[in-house]
């Protein structure tokens, strides 16, 4: 809501469907779970004229003259099933409006939002409600807990709204409480919990309906750094078990890099680049992104897979490294021996070798572009 | 609440009692009321009205009528009577309600059921201990002495005397009276009846000077020893014709009028309960009778019901003739 871009911001539109969007070949082949096409959200006096007059082609000066402000301009993204898709931007970049358009909490001014091939924007209210009830979950920055309900009452509420009977909804809610580690606190009220615990309730509540797609709107921004880190770990743990499609909003690049499969960088209402963390650091799309990622150590985003050479016979080493691990993660192994390291996939099969020197160079390198 | 078991436990008892009650009433009463609809008697918040209302109510009940009481506001009663929300009122004072009553009767929906026989007396009044301070009282001429005015003065009216008049809407013409008779007094209005007598009680306790408007029937003249000032007797001409009376140039050179206290009723109701209307028309009361009854309620702390029942029981000979239409 408050994320209004500065009217003067001028950004290169970067079509999300462009070839370099960080998608692995396997994923690119699949149908996106959620995608936005040429999304616009324009605030201002009689902004609904925007669609009629096809404001997509309107020069910035003309929009300013009419008192229109584009919070989202021509944004397109694809979120693949099972991936953690992070939308990152500073305050005012439009990320908050973006997630609300993706869920139709705010009606976009123009463009489409496709959910498994159906346009959320055009579909009848009843269908949208059904999708929100059973297939979407959302976590909010300030938790959005109901102060009048206990932990149990809060978590059971989405099920209550679906009309599920008390016994079943409370049983399910108890399951969720256990999942987020709040067992024993189910009869507390939100005011009796710490911030971190409150957000655990928010997470449990959003998962109670077992959604396919999970929206997290700056879920950890209101928390202390230590708690934030704990919850990020918790999220990763949950995601490993649940494998949801996640749309995650943050203004914290470290957080984005830590949890993202892919990141969309937003600036001034536009999506500037969509890429994996590694690509973002190694191949920033423009100066803005480059300056943004300048302080990020390469080792933190570079994965073993992108440095490894194809397997050449067997290597005698007790320490295989995972192909998906970052160089930072394998740092202790790198400095504790010599010679190439075997690289294994998730199944433990050897898929290649890692040149220890090349990896150490990345680890030692300060940051930034290759 | 727990409706079901309530009825379950009580229903048999209810039926038995109902049967018993009907048996008693049919045995005891010769007169059949014209209608079993409740007759609603409007009551007001002063004691004589409540006592008279209950006396009438008890008599009507003896005849077999169903009677309910409805608390009303003295001046705001008329819409209720015109619409039949209330059936009878036992007291309507000429001194405050004359015009309202006449207006309401003119609509044709309200009946003037005649005077009760009680007289509303209203006049300047002082406690007996003030007699020494102003020799010559109760003759009004004594008040003309400036010393007398000073005796009744309050700081903000000194050297003139302070006269506590009723609420502004009671009228009373006291400002004109003071001017016409040349009295060294300033008129101060009370807001309400209760406010007036609160001041009287306070002054009486301290034996402090007070000159005020007191009316009867009321408990105050019974509780506090005092006298009414003796002004030239009221005549209609006194209020309209300057030439009348001691001051040839001014009206109001006389005392206040005394007034009737009437009964009133809802016009439509007479078709429903003709005999009840007959009884209320015949209802008579006088100051001498009501005054001790008021005292019993206001000063001795008896309930209105006790006092009214007591009077009805003791005065069968008085009220039986009122109910001639019921064949008693």
């Amino acid at each position: 809501m408050t994320d209004k871009p500065a009217p003067t911001a001028s950004v290169l539109p970067f079509p999300a469907a462009a070839p370099s969007n960080g998608l692995s070949a396997a994923r690119a082949a699949a149908e996106p779970a959620l995608s936005a096409r040429n999304l616009w959200k324009v605030f201002g006096v009689e902004a609904n004229a925007f669609a009629i007059e096809d404001g997509t082609a309107m020069p910035a000066a003309e929009m300013a003259r009419r008192g229109w402000v584009a919070a989202i301009r021509d944004a397109s993204i694809d979120v693949m099933p099972g991936e953690v898709f992070v939308i990152m931007g500073l305050s005012g970049s439009g990320k908050s409006t973006m997630i609300r358009c993706l869920t139709k909490l705010i009606e976009p001014t123009a463009g489409k939002v496709m959910f498994h091939g159906r346009d959320l924007i055009a579909m009848p209210e009843k269908e949208l409600t059904e999708i929100r009830r059973t297939r979407m979950g959302m976590v909010f920055q300030n938790f959005a807990l109901l102060p009048n309900r206990t932990v149990l009452g809060n978590i059971a509420l989405p099920l209550e709204i679906q009309g599920i009977d008390r016994a079943r909804r409370e049983a399910k809610a108890m399951e969720m409480i256990e999942l987020v580690g709040l067992k024993g606190r189910e009869n507390r009220f939100p005011r009796e919990l710490s911030g971190g615990q409150q957000q655990r309730v928010g997470i449990a509540r959003s998962l109670a309906v077992d959604p396919e797609i999970w929206f997290l709107d700056e879920p950890f921004s209101a928390l202390d750094p230590l708690i934030r880190s704990d919850l990020q770990d918790e999220l990763q743990r949950l995601q490993k078990a649940l494998a949801k499609t996640i749309v995650f909003i943050t203004h914290d690049l470290d957080e984005a890099i830590k949890i993202a499969d892919r990141i969309a960088i937003m600036e001034g209402g536009s999506v500037v680049q969509v890429a994996t963390p590694e690509e973002l650091v190694t191949r920033p799309a423009n100066d803005y992104v480059a300056r943004f990622v300048a302080k990020v150590p390469r080792a933190k985003v570079t994965r073993v897979r992108s440095l490894m050479a194809p397997a050449t016979g067997s290597i005698l080493s007790p320490d295989p490294v995972r192909a998906e691990a970052t160089i930072t993660e394998i740092g202790p192994i790198l400095v504790s021996g010599t010679g190439p390291l075997p690289v294994v996939d998730e199944g433990g099969r050897m898929v290649g070798t890692l040149d220890r020197q090349a990896a150490l160079a990345v680890l030692g390198g300060r940051a930034g572009a290759a | 609440m727990t409706g079901r078991p309530f009825w379950k436990t009580c229903m048999p008892k209810l039926l038995v009692s109902l049967a018993a009650a009907t048996a008693i009433s049919s045995a005891a009463q010769a007169f059949e009321p014209e209608s079993n609809d409740p007759i609603i008697i409007g009551t007001f918040n002063w004691s004589s009205a409540m006592i008279n209302s209950e006396i009438a109510g008890i008599i009507l009940q003896k005849l077999g009528y169903t009677v309910e009481y409805l608390p009303m506001d003295d001046s705001a009663r008329y819409p209720g009577f015109e619409a039949g929300d209330a059936t009878f009122a036992l007291e309507t004072w000429a001194t405050t309600q004359k015009i309202n009553l006449e207006t309401s009767v003119a609509t044709g929906k309200v009946l003037d059921l005649g005077e009760t026989g009680m007289q509303a007396k209203e006049e300047w009044w002082y406690p007996i201990y003030m007699k020494e301070a102003c020799p010559g009282l109760p003759n009004w001429e004594a008040l003309k002495d400036p010393k007398c005015g000073e005796a009744f003065a309050a700081p903000e009216t000194a050297p003139k005397g302070r006269y506590l008049s009723g609420p502004v809407d009671w009228g009373g013409g006291d400002v004109e009276r003071v001017a016409a008779l040349g009295l060294p007094f300033e008129v101060v209005n009370a807001g309400t009846d209760a406010g007036m007598f609160a001041e009287l009680q306070a002054a009486y306790e301290r034996k402090a000077p007070i000159m005020m408007w007191v009316y009867a029937p009321h408990w105050a003249p019974a509780k506090f020893e005092g006298e009414w000032v003796d002004f030239p007797d009221y005549e209609d001409a006194c209020y309209t014709d300057p030439a009348w009376g001691g001051n040839p140039d001014a009206t109001h050179d006389c005392g206040k009028p005394e007034g009737w206290i009437k009964k009133m009723g809802w016009a439509e109701g007479e078709k429903k309960w003709p005999c009840a209307y007959e009884v209320v028309r015949n209802f008579k009361m006088d100051n001498a009778t009501i005054q001790p009854l008021i005292g019993a309620v206001d000063l001795d702390g008896k309930t209105v019901t006790e006092v009214a029942q007591g009077w009805v029981d003791a005065n069968e000979a008085v009220w039986k003739p009122w109910a001639a239409c019921a064949g008693l």
Binding site: R100, T103, I131, R132, T134, M138, F140, A144, L146, N148, T150, G153, L157, I161, Q162 | M1, P5, F6, T9, K13, L14, L18, A21, T22, I24, S25, Q29, P33, N36, G42, S47, L60, Q61, K62, G64, Y65, L70, M72, D73, D74, S75, A76, P79, G80, D85, A86, I99, N100, P167, D169, N189, A190, G191, A194, G195, F197, A198, E199, Q201, A202
Partner: protein, 670 residues
């Protein structure tokens, strides 16, 4: 801090200048008004009689026509409204049967009660069980104790039946006002276009004296419980509407978004999310509405509601002040019980969980107790209604106390009264009454303009003109004089008191209890003792106003000074500010916006007392309303009432605009 403050003031110096000039002009005009009055043409000094619009007479005859003749088709309007009134009366009659009257059979003097109403023994038990049920494990025991002690007071002092009559009326009117208030408030929030008119209407309803619309209500609804009910609802509705609007607007947008994302239907979104989350705010409205309903008990009893209010009136009529006090306290007891019970129930309903199990089967216990108590009451009538011979009374003590004060304290009190009256009140009144009406209207417009801009200036000017044009100028000025002095006095006493009390929680709690009692005890109960000592007239009126209006002055002062941000006080301590400097530069500016709201409420309550002041012999608008009532002139009553509302609205709008500015300047939420 001080530097920053001055700097900011200096920064906006160019905006202050014209305001200051206007202010100086106003002061000059006020000082020179006697001279000015001599120079102006007479028509500009006293509003010319010929120019008075006959709005009152017109309204009166129109209302009479509407009530007596007007018809829609074959049905007269009054028949329709009376039909509705009968519908409304059904639930009252039902509750009265259950609680107060029972079922009677037979006729004439053979009427017998065949099914008794709820006995006090059963009533206390059931109320206690209810309290225990809604109070839960934590609040339950305390609530039960409160209810048992309170209801025992009512029983032992012989008020049970009357209290039940009052209770049924209050329950129905409070439920109606709360439901209607929530509905209207919700509509106003969801349809922004009607929000402003609704708020305006509520302000008018809150400030027009009840006696203004009593006669019209009777015309349309007839005498009886429904008229009392409607009058009560009109009076008690505004706080509920305001609280609902405030509460719903305060629901965090994220919470609403959560509800939408959970797929809540609009209905579920309202009932399960917005309303419960707004509950703390609604609770304030519920509290105020219940208090307002109980405030009306005495007035409602004048038009057929009976009950405790009628006891208060008859006791006062015979100057049994102790008796009136006892019945008044029974009203306060009902107020406190209803307030605490309804809050506990609302909290429970909003929590979305089952009644937390206390291991007690409330339903079965209630049945058992009811059966047992009812049988006991049948066997021993003392359990049905407390025997009159055993009734307690403290009335002689209170009457004696009043007499004692009257006899022993009269001299100093009377000297004080005379001094104030002769040297302060009378001169102020004379001065105000002599002010040219044109000058006053000009000043009102100036005040509005300074507080909130040109539009506000014109609005309040128009309202002042309405008072002049309808011919109520002098009574209105008298009202302003009483309200003004009353407000001033309330502030002089209330603000410092609130400041001192604000420092300790225990002092604050004690003060709150006293203020609650001041606000619910029927005013007349303490007004008459005041009249005994201070006599009829303006001084007693002032005492009445101050005793009622001091409550918000103290309350807001406590609240304002307790809410000064701690870091600002720490800053003051760090820079070594003296106690006075801290007060002047830190506490006062931070508390100022809240204090302004307190001033607003103080004025509103002072105005609400105008109608009561008429009872002790003032010649203000309240008296005009009473005269209209006693002469059955509904038009005059309504117009005089609207003039009261106009004064209230002028003060309210200007002060709120001013408070908004002050809050924006100080960065404190008002």
């Amino acid at each position: 801090m001080a530097l920053a403050e001055t700097g900011r003031m200096g920064g906006m110096g160019w905006r202050v200048a014209p305001t200051q000039m206007a202010l100086m002009a106003a002061v000059l005009a006020l000082a020179a008004s006697p001279v000015l009055a001599g120079m102006l043409p007479a028509a500009l000094v006293d509003y010319p009689k010929q120019a008075v619009i006959g709005l009152a007479a017109f309204t009166g005859s129109w209302l009479t026509w509407l009530a007596r003749e007007a018809a829609i088709g074959p049905l007269r309007i009054a028949e329709i409204t009376r039909g509705l009134a009968n519908v409304v009366e059904a639930p009252i009659a039902l509750l009265n049967t259950l609680f107060a009257e029972g079922i009677q059979a037979g006729r004439g003097d053979q009427v017998r009660t065949v099914v008794p109403p709820l006995s006090w023994l059963a009533g206390i038990g059931l109320a206690a069980l209810l309290a225990h049920m809604v109070g839960g494990r934590q609040a339950g025991p305390k609530l039960v104790a409160l209810i048992v002690v309170g209801l025992l007071y009512i029983v032992l002092f012989g008020f049970w039946t009357d209290a039940m009559f009052t209770l049924t009326n209050v329950i129905i009117s409070a439920v109606a006002a709360i439901a209607l208030g929530i509905w209207i408030g919700t509509k106003a929030v969801t349809h922004p276009r009607i929000a402003a008119p609704v708020e305006g209407l509520m302000n008018v309803m809150q400030t027009v004296p009840v006696f203004s619309y009593l006669v019209p209500t009777l015309l349309f609804l007839g005498y009886g419980p429904s008229a009392a009910l409607v009058a009560t609802v009109i009076y008690a509705l505004p706080p509920m509407v305001h609280a609902t609007m405030l509460g719903l607007r305060g629901v965090p947008p994220e919470v609403v978004e959560f509800g939408r994302m959970a797929g809540a239907s609009p209905r579920a979104l309202f009932w399960k999310i917005r309303l419960p989350v707004a509950l703390p705010q609604l609770a304030i409205g519920i509290n105020q509405t219940i208090m307002a309903c109980l405030n009306m008990v005495v007035i409602a009893s004048m038009i057929g509601a009976g009950g405790l209010g009628f006891l208060v009136l008859t006791a006062l009529r015979k100057l049994d002040i102790g008796g009136a006090l006892q019945a008044g306290i029974a009203i306060v007891v009902l107020a406190v019980i209803l307030d605490r019970l309804s809050l506990a129930a609302a909290r429970l309903a909003a929590s979305g969980t089952r009644i937390r199990s206390t291991g007690i089967p409330h339903g079965r216990l209630a049945l058992g107790w009811f059966a047992l108590a009812s049988i006991a009451a049948l066997l021993l009538p003392a359990f049905q209604s407390w025997p009159k011979e055993l009734t307690l009374t403290t009335a002689p003590f209170w009457n004696g106390l009043v007499s004692w004060i009257n006899i022993h304290w009269f001299e100093p009190l009377d000297a004080f009264r005379s001094f104030t009256l002769i040297h302060i009140m009378n001169p102020v009144k004379a001065y105000l009454l002599d002010l040219p009406w044109t000058l006053v209207i000009a000043l009102v417009m100036l005040g509005g303009w300074m507080a909130g801009g040109a539009r506000l200036g014109l609005t309040v000017g128009a309202m002042a003109l309405f008072i002049a044009a309808t011919g109520f100028w002098d009574p209105a000025v008298t009202s302003v004089y009483l309200v003004g002095l009353g407000t001033l006095l309330s502030l002089i006493i209330g603000l410092p008191f609130g400041y001192v009390v604000s420092r300790r929680q225990s002092w604050r709690d004690a003060a709150s209890l006293v203020l609650d009692t001041l606000q619910t005890l029927p005013t007349l109960v303490y007004l008459l003792p005041a009249v005994m000592v201070f006599r009829n007239g303006d001084f007693s009126a002032l005492v009445a106003i101050v005793s009622y209006a001091i409550a918000p002055a103290v309350r807001y002062s406590m609240h304002a000074f307790a809410g000064v941000p701690a870091e600002r006080l720490e800053l003051a301590a760090m820079v070594g500010a003296s106690r006075w400097q801290t007060f002047k530069w830190v506490r006062l500016p931070a508390a100022f916006p809240t204090l302004l709201l307190g001033l607003n409420q103080t004025i509103m309550l002072a105005i609400a007392m105008l109608v009561i002041t008429a009872l002790v012999g003032t010649r203000d608008l309240g008296q005009q309303v009473f005269i209209a009532l006693s002469r059955a002139k509904p038009g005059d009553g309504i117009i005089a009432g609207l003039c009261v509302a106009a004064i209230a609205l002028i003060a309210d709008m200007c002060l709120k605009a001013w408070a908004r500015r002050a809050a924006a300047r100080n960065g404190v939420e008002a």
